[in-house]
Amino acid sequence: MAVDEKTVAEVAHLARLQIDGELVSEYAREMSNVLALAETMNDIDTSDVEPMAHPTHAVQRLRDDAVTETNQREAFQQCAPSVEAGYYLVPQVIE
């Protein structure tokens, strides 16, 4: 399916990506090409085929409900762009 600029803008919003001006039409063209490649899969009938989400059909392994990780807040917050008093700072959300 050919993707138009409006669709690129919608998808970019869903993905929380700012995409400016002329790049929108370039992404529209590139996405259309990749989706055209994907659509070659329609050449075969897969109505009786089970979808394969995972190569070894693995299911989530469960562990004992026990505390195994220690608190490393300080170590983790060292890589954060902005923290204060142990909290991550973001622009004000609630007035």
Partner: protein
Amino acid sequence: MHTHSIAAIRRHLSNGDYSSKELCAHLLARIKQLNETNNAFIEITEKEALSAAEQADNTRASGGAASLLGVPLAHKDIFCTKHVRTSCGSKMLKNFVPPYDATVVDKLAASGAITLGKTNMDEFAMGSSNENSHFGSVANPWDNARVPGGSSGGSAAAVAARMVPATTGTDTGGSIRQPAAFCGITGIKPTYGRVSRYGMVAFASSLDQGGPMATTAEDCALLLESMAGFDERDSTSIDQPVDQYSAELNRSLDGLRVGLPRQYFSSDLDAPIADALQQAIEELTRLGVSFVEVDLKNQSLAVPAYYVVAPAECSSNLSRFDGVRYGHRCDGPVDLEDLYKRSRAEGFGREVKRRILIGTYALSAGYYDAYYLKAQKVRNLISQDFTQAFENVDVILGPTTPTPAFKQGENSDDPVAMYLNDIFTIPANLAGLPALSAPCGFVEGLPVGLQLIGNYFDEARLLNIAHQFQQVTDWHLQMPADIRA
């Protein structure tokens, strides 16, 4: 010393011919010099390496004998290294210093290996040429005007230029095997779940798998023995004992049945590559291998299925980069949405954004069934093709890449043309099978790789075949003229 394999280094260190510190210092000098031209390294950890090497020498003096004690290597910059920047080739993680080590890094260090640095790569492992790195492209040591392949391009170039005897890589659609082929080295992508993904920055979680890259199959076996194994921190890690790969290298190949997929040897295959493979087939026939044709009839749909599944998983995985907990944050965000949107727009490069957009589209309401579900069904068919083939053969052999290394810039304007480079490597990722690339010849001075695809957990067999092939050929010993000197 820089031309020594790991197997040779282990002997020399044990005989006292040189110390780990001498070896590491020699290689670090080479890395600093050659990196000016090939840009294979993003980070050189000289101080830490020399101190670890000295410690390894002391351990050896007091009787220590871990399997890789004092052996130098480098990690793809996708593996988290404690207190050493892990950029994943992205501006997004340009200043990211992880507070922990990836399991692979941990395990290799526990075996005594010394890390000399972090290697260049396509941003977030998305690319087949290493041209998508925020830190610049990497030159192929065989021809600086050509790409080393990707995404583990720095890892492959570093080994090919003999800057380091081995590196780690990751392979989501061919990212170990394709650069190994382009640079004339050996690399193996293990069975999905064999090597822990903990601390390996995620791209497409149902496809990603780490593995070793080195000059020989024997070295890959030695490395994989240390890297592989169950890890409770990776929910898809498989709890099964690790084979002693190096102990199986000398098994006879007599009576082995190898399948040649009709679809891999079509008339579309580059004639010189087909010739190199034919010679390899004849060599293996002399070692007692018999060849039969196999049918992987849905192969042509592997690239389309992959370029839906991988972007879908990428769009989900990369949503974690939001400018809040780690990674790039834009200046002066006016509100939270602006913070997300601009931080991500500034932090991600072109190819990563393209894949996020495609993946988001394929997963969005109204398109999910047509693209993502369809791709998962096709993935099942591709996997079934392999299951059927392995009823009749032990291993599958084919080319690693459709062409030798291409020129820098040659495919960068056309994503679809770039994606088709992965046509022979993607199927093994979709099925989760182990696959190896080893050098098997040259086309106009550029290395060519042969690919072996095995059944689940048959890494030992792949390494055994490649090792036996390397006993009767010397393609893996070739190195670029200026490196040999």
